[in-house]
């Protein structure tokens, strides 16, 4: 089950601008992929860039999951970013704009239920949380954005992306959060206890209420993949 929220922050609301985050998901043959991209507000086509990036990586991971779960990490990062950049360049060419106008961060998680493998790809300052056995862990840390954040059009972006192949055994849900969202969920470097409680109990509706109740300057988004098996017997 996929639960998602993506809203414009107060800054964009006041400016009458749209939310520049995008979330996306897909599944096929026991493979689930969820993705999130956070468009760079300073770029003219940030929203469109975020949509393209999140869709491109979702489709790529679904289509090539077999390869991605066996590639080495450098190859995965290069392959994924080349593909995203190619999609962005194609759109930029059509619209006669610079590809940099479509810059965004991009984060994606692939879960293969059969092999119990989980691939986390993260470029930029979004975060991946994994919940299991009543504990919420950070599966992919946001990158250091003190001197600017790395995005899809950054030079040598592949070397700045984080790629992790994890065992998904024991993981009950995975949550991708944009920086606008996780900054509300954390107090400096620690997850707020009330948010930790919502996550460990998989109460995503209440997480939505929590986030929408905050005065969030930046756009905020999350997408959660609930991997718990539904209980009950199948009937004919």
């Amino acid at each position: 089950m996929v639960i998602q929220l993506s809203r414009a922050g107060t800054h964009h609301q006041e400016q009458g601008e749209e939310n520049q985050d995008a979330v996306c998901s897909g599944s096929a043959k026991g493979i689930c992929v969820i993705s999130l991209a956070d468009g760079v507000s300073a770029c003219g086509e940030a929203r469109c860039g975020a949509e393209i990036a999140s869709r491109a990586i979702t489709d790529l991971l679904l289509k090539k999951s077999g390869y991605f779960l066996t590639f080495d990490q450098d190859k995965i990062a290069r392959f994924a970013l080349d593909h995203i950049l190619w999609e962005l360049s194609r759109r930029a060419k059509e619209e006669q704009k610079a590809v940099e106008d479509y810059s965004s961060t991009v984060t994606s998680v692939l879960v293969d239920r059969k092999s119990r493998k989980m691939l986390c790809f993260n470029l930029g300052d979004s975060m991946v949380l994994a919940v299991g056995n009543g504990v919420c862990r950070v599966a992919a840390m946001p990158s250091d954005s003190r001197e600017g954040c790395c995005v899809t059009t950054t030079k040598h972006a592949a070397s700045l992306a984080s790629v992790r192949l994890l065992d998904s055994g024991g993981v009950e849900s995975v949550i991708l959060c944009s920086d606008g969202a996780w900054r509300q969920m954390f107090d400096k470097n620690r997850l707020k206890p009330e948010v930790a409680s919502l996550l460990t109990h998989h109460e995503y509706q209440r997480l939505k209420e929590f986030l929408t109740g905050q005065d969030c300057f930046d756009d905020y988004s999350f997408i959660a993949l609930d991997l718990r098996q539904r209980k009950g017997r199948r009937t004919a």
Partner: protein, 634 residues
């Protein structure tokens, strides 16, 4: 993503990466010739990868090309392009360094960024000078670095005594009394009236007055923090922890659901960015005037996980307490621990034996030991009593005989892993030097047949050959009178290039640039300043310089630094490539990568920061290696 944060897109690259990128694009005609030659001799299966190498170089230099063409097309493309000769690349590189060196932040600029990021917008001193802002933060949030200690008198009554970590409160009150002509009880209520002139007394103050316990101790540490002056003897580290407490900085303990908050993390901001060997500090007046007072080469070690006092600071940094409570708690515990440990030892309780184990053990235990059943968060979330027990059982908290002169932050400052890695580089360097001198090197060359003394003498003798320092420019020559012409030539060249590129030029800026090169050369080459020679030209050429490179003679784990390790690797890298011609035609980009890969193996083992284009010291050293291995060809 919030637009105010900015991004590093292709259009919007930050200054940090700018220099590294420009260097990467500086490829000489020789670099291309090598790629073409490799392409020409490639088999069918090798051709795609050789082409990729050529394309990478073409892209770096912004030369448009088409894929899928024959070799003649690429040869034509290269020969038609305006490519630089190696000496032009050298000039260009020096100019690029000159044009960009000011983009590298000084420790003061790092501190300004940290304070800007962490200061509360409610505090009305945002427009004050940096040192005044830090001082006011210490006064308001750290109670002027004082706290009340409870004590029981003879009658059993609980009384309070004021403990002063750094002297200064009395002077600040006096300063305000004179300024406002009124009695001052609470400094916090008069912060707006304190101006930067409060620091004027430091100009005339004696050494004793500027000591921590002296009347201007607080002003002095604030001034040092703001200007990036690192004091010898562990003084800087203590003030950094107190700074972190009053600014509410965080420490990533790796607990479930915690992240590294890059904007507040103590390790990233204070130990990685600020308190490192940042060459830019040598341009500050303080460093140019009184070099012996200041730490020349901070080790680069960051948090010392085997020092009990540092662990206590981290413990309190992560507690949900007010800054004053944290300062009091940490200071009291640090002071009490030696006695507590001694008493427990006397009572026969388990305690660590002196001398064992090393930093790596503690770092692992503290940061990554979930599999060992102990996690840093488990330690940091212990109640005070439990934490004291943990320290008693695992840390050496008191001084051994003969250690009376050491402060608590200097205890256990040996970096054994780093020293082993450093020694390993030197062990690999000597056979290379032997080979270069045409001597046979037996496998596993380790002087094993010699006595310890002979080994040391032999090793020193070989290492003394590594004293040439920076290779791309003769820095030492700039100070020789008879080389004035050479210096003028540099000024002229840089001026011409600035005019051509319409960049501002100033002689003073070139002076600063040369100062920077001198500072680096001090670490890399001859320690002594060269004087005008009285020898004839023939004598000069035949007599080998006997000056030694200090970085190659580190004798103990206490003295090893990140810089000494990189310098040792620099000489190894150069000596290795003197023997191995395969690397000689690499572009700067490739040399940077290959040097990084090699040295990072050692730096990581030593828990130092990896080589980075953000660090001007690193960039200059790698460029020097690039110049050295290319010069071998001419």
């Amino acid at each position: 993503m919030n637009e105010r944060k900015g991004t590093i897109t292709r259009r919007m690259e930050s200054a940090f990466y700018g220099l590294q990128q420009e260097f990467r694009a500086l490829c000489s005609a020789e670099d291309f010739e090598q790629k073409l030659a490799a392409l020409g001799s490639a088999s069918a299966s090798e051709r795609p990868s050789r082409l990729r190498n050529l394309f990478d170089l073409l892209e770096l230099c912004g030369i448009p090309y088409e894929m899928g063409k024959d070799n003649a097309y690429y040869e034509r493309l290269v020969h038609q392009a305006h490519l630089l000769s190696f000496s032009e690349v050298e000039d260009r590189m020096l100019y690029t360094l000159y044009a960009h060196f000011q983009d590298y932040p000084s420790p003061e600029e790092y501190m300004t960024r940290i304070v800007d990021r962490l200061a509360s917008t409610k505090d009305p001193w945002g427009s004050d000078t940096l040192r005044l802002r830090i001082l006011k933060q210490f006064i308001r949030y750290g109670d002027c670095l004082t706290y009340q200690r409870d004590w029981v008198d003879e009658t059993g009554a609980v009384k309070q005594k004021k403990v002063t970590l750094y002297g200064g409160e009395a002077y600040l009150k006096k300063y305000l009394r004179e300024k406002t002509k009124a009695a001052v009880k609470n400094l916090d209520q008069h912060l707006e009236e304190i101006g930067d002139d409060v620091f004027d007394v430091l100009k005339e103050a004696t050494k004793a007055q500027k000591k921590p316990s002296g009347p201007y101790g607080l002003l002095k540490i604030v001034d040092d923090l703001a200007s990036g002056q690192f004091r010898t003897g562990g003084g800087t580290k203590k003030s950094l922890y107190l700074f972190a407490i009053v600014y509410g900085m965080t420490y990533d303990s790796g607990r479930d659901g915690s992240v590294i908050d890059y904007s507040t993390d103590i390790e990233k901001n204070l130990f990685c960015d600020y308190y490192t060997n940042n060459l830019m500090r040598f341009l500050t007046q303080a460093y140019q005037q009184k070099s012996c007072e200041f730490e020349q080469d901070p080790s680069g070690q960051g948090i010392n996980y085997k020092n009990y006092a540092e662990m206590i600071y981290l413990y309190y940094l992560t507690q949900d307490l007010s800054p004053q409570e944290k300062i009091k708690g940490a200071s009291e515990m640090i002071a009490a621990m030696p006695d507590i440990q001694r008493q427990r030892r006397e009572q026969g309780e388990q305690s660590i034996e002196p001398g064992e184990p090393g930093t790596a053990f503690y770092r692992k235990k503290f940061k990554h030991s979930a599999q060992e059943g102990l996690f840093s968060e488990d330690i940091l979330s212990l109640p005070e009593e439990g934490f004291v027990r943990f320290l008693c059982e695992n840390y050496r908290c008191g001084l051994e005989d003969g250690e009376n002169a050491l402060g608590e932050l200097q205890l256990e400052s040996e970096q054994r892993s780093a020293f082993h890695a450093y020694e390993e580089i030197l062990t690999k360097l000597i056979p290379q030097l032997k080979k270069a001198a045409g001597q046979a090197v037996e496998p596993g060359y380790d002087f094993s047949s010699l006595s310890e003394e002979e080994k040391r003498a032999q090793r020193d003798s070989w290492l003394s050959k590594c004293n040439y320092g920076l290779w791309f420019t003769d820095v030492a020559a700039f100070r020789k009178e008879n080389y004035g012409q050479k210096r003028q030539e540099l000024y002229r060249k840089l001026q011409e290039m600035c005019q051509k590129e319409e960049r501002p030029y100033s002689g003073e800026l070139v002076d600063s640039f040369i100062t920077l090169l001198f500072a680096l050369n001090r670490f890399m080459g001859r320690a002594a300043e060269e004087k005008e020679s009285t020898q004839t030209k023939e004598q000069e050429w035949t007599e080998t310089s006997r000056a030694k490179t200090k970085a190659l003679y580190v004798s103990s784990a206490r003295d090893v630094t990140r810089t000494s390790m990189i310098v040792a690797y620099y000489y190894y890298y150069n000596a290795f490539h003197e023997q191995d011609g395969r690397e000689r035609w690499k572009s700067f980009d490739e040399v940077f990568r290959s040097f990084s890969e090699g040295v990072n193996r050692y730096l990581e083992r030593a828990y130092y920061q990896p080589l980075s284009g953000r660090n001007i010291l690193d960039v200059l050293i790698v460029f020097s290696a690039y110049a050295y291995i290319h010069d071998l060809m001419f």
